[in-house]
Amino acid sequence: MRSIKKTLAATFIAAGSLIAVGSGTDAQSEARIHLIHGIPGVEVDVAAGGANVFEGFSFGETQDLSALAGETLTGVQVKAAGTDTVAIDAGDVTLPGSGNYTIIAHVTADGTPTLGVFENDVSTIAAGEGRLTVRHTAAAPAVDVLANGAVAFAGVTNPQEGVVDLPVGTISASVAAAGTTDPVIGPADLAITDGQNLIIYAVGALSDGSLTVLTETIDGLGTAPTRVNTGNTPIDTEGGFPYLPILLVGLLALGGTGAVLRAQRTA
């Protein structure tokens, strides 16, 4: 509800050279924009304005685009590495000027390469909890996400996501076709860490067995305990309830009974 999968929109303004890049505005320092390569087995170059921005970008790699926050990139293309073969033609792309986003190159449910944009939930997490975000970015039908064997998110379809805050610890997570429990991904252990949003991307394709997960973490969302109360009695009144004397009296009584019994037996 609070997190919505967004499809990167193209603005299709007149093609032209890039404008006002790298001017170091305030907005840039507030934004956090990461780009993840989420299509297994393919290496790409990413171009804007007819020139490569980075090259040899391969599965699982991440680029920090935060410095480009608020910029409009013209003619964004994702090409097979070292070629002019365009895999994703995103047109003109305006990056958010602020906020926390992840752009992931992934495939749609039917296997078509695309760029997905997710806004990350960076709201404050309660002390002692961590956040788990699960995103369906794979060529696969609806899935259930299971945590410790129980369904955590049901009927998630590409490109939906689910978000939940959990107590810190380790959970065993797996992904199964909706309504089933046979894992198509996992099970894999996931560490739920205090104050951290752990984001899991299901990527690849069910049809060729390339389904797997990518992970991303955002730290520093936590809160500390408000107070440590470690005592409700003044030290000088300690022993207000005489546990030890009662125990000793009890033991003596038992011992006395035993002695009496023995005495009776021997009598």
Partner: protein, 269 residues
């Protein structure tokens, strides 16, 4: 395992201790309880806030050469190796990327799933402070209560705050115990008397024992804790031992200060 161990103590302690341990079933229940609110029908095709909302979505034609078809034989290790190679070659050809944008983007951590990052570190099991005659006092994992207060266990038990690192990991590992409760002296009854250099031993569930030495014992107003120090998530591994002290507030049945001892590791397991 913990319960079995604690069975050596009085029954009442066992009951209290086990009740404070987060159970897997409790986690499951929490997850299950949130399902309905977490996966609504999410609209696809929403545009970026900064984009022209009226513009069409980009056309994404399948490529003729199909360079995107995933390689089913590529396992994770191979991906990793490829990535390492890429990183080496990326610098070799850094001059090739011709866009002025190239200087503004930078590669960061890999998103590949690394199981090693998800292995739970061995939890603390017992604590000993020889100079205070604390010997193998049980340590239980604790969280916070609804109002945010640390859930300090039974006075005979030390609570390890699960939101803090395990002892020996980077950051402040928080262990808290009562100075007393309902007249019963707590494990950290004499924490304020700890001397600098005193030893603190923490045994973990994997059988390892780490030794720490006390570097400071402070008295803080509970409203003025040095938060960046006692709740640090990163930095030098530090054991932070909490109890109460200072003036006792009769109205609130609570102490106004915390006695906090800091210790640094002098041995690794």
């Amino acid at each position: 395992m913990r319960c079995h161990r604690l069975a050596l103590l009085a029954i009442v302690l066992v009951t209290g201790a086990c009740a404070t341990m987060p159970s897997r079933s409790a986690t499951d229940a929490l997850i299950a309880a949130t399902i309905d609110s977490v996966v609504p029908g999410l609209p696809a095709g929403t545009t970026l806030p900064a984009s022209d909302a009226g513009s069409p979505a980009p056309q994404l034609p399948p490529t003729s050469a199909d360079p995107i078809s995933p390689d089913p034989t590529a396992d994770r290790a191979a991906e990793r190796e490829t990535r390492a190679t890429e990183e080496r070659t990326a610098s070799d050809r850094s001059g090739v990327a011709s866009s002025p944008l190239a200087e503004l983007v930078r590669p960061i951590d890999s998103a590949l799933y690394d199981p090693a990052e998800h292995i739970a570190a061995p939890r603390p099991l017992t604590i000993s402070i020889p100079s205070l005659d604390v010997q193998d006092a049980p340590v239980d994992p604790v969280g916070v209560k609804d109002e945010g207060e640390l859930d300090v266990p039974d006075p005979r038990v030390v609570g390890w705050y699960t939101g803090s690192p395990v002892p020996g990991e980077g950051g402040a590992s928080v262990l808290a115990a009562h100075v007393n409760y309902d007249g019963v002296p707590g494990v950290f009854r004499y924490l304020r008397d700890l001397e600098l250099g005193a030893l603190v031993e923490v045994a973990a569930e994997d059988g390892t024992v780490q030794t720490f030495e006390v570097t400071a014992v402070e008295l803080y107003d509970k409203d003025e804790l040095p938060e960046e120090r006692v709740w640090a998530k990163t930095g030098d591994p530090t054991l932070v031992l909490f109890t109460c002290g200072g003036r006792f507030n009769d109205d609130q049945r609570s102490y106004e200060d915390n006695v906090v001892a800091f210790a640094r590791p002098i041995s690794r397991p």
